[in-house]
Symmetry: C3
């Protein structure tokens, strides 16, 4: 009975047209061109490496240039990760987008998949077809601050200002030069930084940006820093770019300045809280980051008190922070729950995090899901995974245990998955 | 089958007469007088505020005096929180206590509810009827230390000495004056504090108090403080009431002195661990407190080693501390598991916390639930929520998976819900 | 349907021959001789004590020498812990190994059990029978560094070098003397320590040891310590064995030196992370240890980066660390997930920890379970508990929700329970 109920709910949920409020899509090349583009997603390279594939056979000078040879090298390691949900995404793409008839991708059948992928991705309307099959209406991007935002339809591919480099890397000469080129402003301290940020926000908002975003390490603790202290820190960093206290002061100053612009330009500020970069130093590309679950949202209390008019969609990396996210979002009007991020983006974790959100956070403050994808093909299986968990939570926790009607459960699902992302990010 | 089993268990559980071992009931006005008294529960004001209702329309000089107008203002925001379990408590009161026939409370039907509530609460025997319907035999109070404890039946409304003010606010002149009025003792340091506490405990115990209680911030770490150090701290606080180290020393001294009295007067000492007060500074009344989940019960190891004869019923605010609570209660004879507190008082969190407790804590050391209510009407839906989760845990984890008989499962449930609170708090 | 599916999976799983990769078995006396040997397992003494049994009636001079009288004293307290999963292990042993016909062990029927146990354990082939019934092919030991490892079959009872004493207690004269006797080397600093460790590893490996193991407190943070600093620390400790900084330096030096030998001698290094010893000072034997869940695996990042060729099977004590373990194992090739330890070894905790592992860690990097037992009889109920949870996870999460075939689910189970321990620890 419970299985049939979940299935009925899922069939309805799968009809809806979606917005994907956080991805890493390149709007100039949104789709994979070969199977290698899919296998190159860090989940597969890092899991294959973890399961035994030497790094030098994944990246670096010894790796053949030929994409097919690259794929061939990774295929034998898939058998070690075929239990993972990430592997299931790949199979779902293979089956539903490419028509692959097998349950697993093996050394025997992968060339069949290679050819199916080749045929599919070379179709002129492939991008349209993927969008249609995935029921995607709009896809948020993650744009570097110096992205010209030209040459694509910003109502389909919605710009979003990514600010990690500004907050954590502005002491690097290369980043400073990128900022000069993008804004015409050379940063010498607090005042010039403010002018540069104004230019960036003007540019992004004029080009249809709908959010500002940043990922933050577990020990980050935002605080207002007076301009003169920021100026002092900037001067110290010119002498010693590694000066820990000056770096910390300056980072917090830039971060606070971004929040001020989000208020002024009415942009939501996506906070992705909790990642430590480069923990596994010898890991593959994008497969080096981990976390320290000892983080608390109380570190953000000053920020959220100071900017009541800025909406903060918050993602947490560790599931142990989810109950804090539920509580902070239930109390702070400007804190919104945002998707299931990275290491918490697996079914059993989503189930418990989502169940807690749906029972205690106001329904107009929950953004159900984003894919975080690099290639458009991944929206289908990643949203698919979320929808199945969502149907299960609704069936178990709401229809069976709280005796809701199915329609009432579906209305709630529709709000968090379809309506809230549009309303909260201000899409027309 | 599993649904039917849960239902059978639940029907038995709902027959039992209960003690509610922690509430904020005012024994002189235990019931709501209007719907506004129910809607004024901080869960509804804080969730409505979080969902978009401006604070100035909830409290302060601009809010109309008329209770009905106050209710009318909040009703439109209920639709944003009708997914929450807190909303379901309100609907359950409306339906089961007032006879409201609808599934949701809307701008169209709320006046019907207003009138039903008015009729019900004006009945002469309303208090008796609520107690009877809720199967409540005794309700613990939370009494300020200067409460005269007069004018009510202390076998029905059981006094409990709340000590937050003593531990954390004794440096405030107003609190000192209240203590002088209550005890005749002016505090000048360790020795006079001891005399004042003796008077308070004598008064409370003579009036039938059955517990001492306190809520504690995550960074609190109890420790014995020698009287001369406490005297020094007290002197420093006369100069500078904000002196952090002196405050910390003095608080720990008062806390330890309370534990000594709990031992001497044989009172259980309820510890409610983990709340940070006033985190959302602009929140509504009682809607400003949150938490930092980075707390460990190891902070209490010295206390529990030092007072083996005091029973400590312990509540934790964050579910991530629940496994520690299970382990500390499984090891320390004097640590008892106590209910599901505040942000952890939602069904999915109760399920996992309770399942872990029932499989690893001695059954004579688990106090199932308390309502924490301010108005008597809330016992029915809050205990109702717990009973449904309890029936589900018993059905899934014990009858189906551990193959217990239903009677054996019910005996366990009865012990934690009915027998343990009576025995542990020493009710006749 | 789901119940029947779980049952079908379980019946298959129960056919497999197992390796138990972590126990505290004494190979010279692997089995219980009386019921008292089973009741003396710290779970029963500590839970009985927690439930009200005075310590002095459990251990110490007032306790009678007669084993039967010792058992008789504990039996009346079993009724307070008969909800716990630990109690269920005892009943499963009683029923399945001794033929006890009752569901509970009471003051009325325990002598029947006493006699059944007496008859069974006195059989000449009892050890063989327990191994056969439990389907155990090999059992890892936990050997003190000065264990001669003589007089038993090391292919059945596999030696494992336990190193807690070396890392944390080498400042104690008694431990130093044991090391001299075992190796002929007197430690005077870094160099002599290295020689002593070389001798230990040579001895253990030559006797068939397959792992090095250690349990670690939550605040331990491994780091390379230069030999001259280690020498300095050792000298300070000769003056003051309690010097905190010197102890910390020296411990980290010894630990790092062990990791170097694990690399050289190709031994996996079992890390059991998170226990605080002696927290409940008045607890019974082995019933004093607890934990602080505020630990992060990021403390081990330097170690895992430095020793890519050493396999680290990692156990975590607190379930809140499980998601970190999943993530670190998904990223670091040399980090392997290892069993469900101590306070996390209860069904509801295993369910959620295991579900998360199976959906995100490469399948060749998960070691399903170890019993941690002191007497051979406990493998049956402890593995039995794990197998039932495993069948439930497979049924719910893989067959029903991810639509795997039952055979595919069983292949995954077989790999983590049977194949991985053999391969990872290098059993023939």
């Amino acid at each position: 009975m419970s299985q049939a109920l979940e299935q009925r709910l899922l069939e309805q949920i799968e009809q809806w047209e979606l917005v994907d409020p956080h991805t890493h899509i390149n709007p100039h090349a949104p789709c994979a061109r070969t199977l290698t583009d899919l296998l190159g997603y860090h989940y597969y390279t890092e899991l294959a490496h973890s399961a035994g594939m030497p790094k030098k056979t994944i990246e670096g000078p010894q790796v053949p240039q030929d994409p097919k040879a690259q794929a061939a090298a990774l295929i034998p390691y898939l058998k070690h990760i075929d239990n993972t949900v990430q592997y299931s995404w790949l199979v779902e793409i293979a089956q539903r987008l490419f028509g692959f008839p097998h349950e697993r991708i093996t050394e025997e059948n992968w060339e069949e998949l290679w050819h199916l992928a080749e045929q599919a991705t070379q179709r002129a309307d492939w991008e349209q077809q993927v969008l249609r099959t995935s029921r995607l209406q709009a896809v948020f991007l993650t744009n570097d601050f110096d992205d010209p935002l030209q040459g694509f339809d910003t109502s389909r591919y919605v710009p979003c200002l990514r600010t990690d480099d500004l907050v954590f890397k502005l002491t690097e000469p290369e980043v400073q030069q990128r900022l000069v080129r993008a804004t015409g402003v050379e940063v010498h301290g607090a005042e010039s930084l403010g002018r540069a940020l104004d230019r960036l926000f003007e540019h992004f908002v004029s080009q249809g940006a709908k959010a500002c975003a940043i990922s933050l390490p577990p020990d980050f603790c935002p605080e207002e820093v007076p301009p003169d202290q920021a100026d002092g820190a900037w001067k110290q960093l010119q002498q010693n770019p590694q000066h820990a206290q000056a770096r910390s002061l300056w980072s917090r100053f830039v971060f606070w300045s971004l929040a001020q612009r989000c208020q002024e330009f009415r942009l939501p500020f996506d906070l992705m809280i909790g990642v430590n970069r480069g923990v596994y130093a010898h890991g593959v590309y994008q497969g080096q980051d981990l976390f320290d679950s000892r983080v608390s949202l109380i570190q953000y209390a000053k920020l959220w008190n100071a900017f009541p008019q800025v909406v903060f969609p918050v993602s947490v990396l560790a599931s142990v922070t989810n109950q804090e996210l539920v509580a902070y979002s239930w109390i702070f009007p400007n804190v919104v729950v945002h998707g299931h991020w990275w290491y918490s983006n697996t079914p059993s974790v989503i189930y418990r995090d989502l169940a807690n959100r749906l029972e205690a956070v106001p329904r107009n403050k929950i953004i159900g899901y984003y894919s975080d994808m690099y290639k458009l093909e991944f929206a289908l299986p990643k949203f698919g995974m979320f929808k199945r968990v969502l149907a299960r939570v609704l069936a178990q926790e709401f229809v069976l245990h709280r005796r809701w009607s199915e329609q009432r459960a579906l209305d709630l699902a529709r709000q968090i998955l379809v309506e809230n992302p549009r309303r909260i990010f201000g899409l027309e």
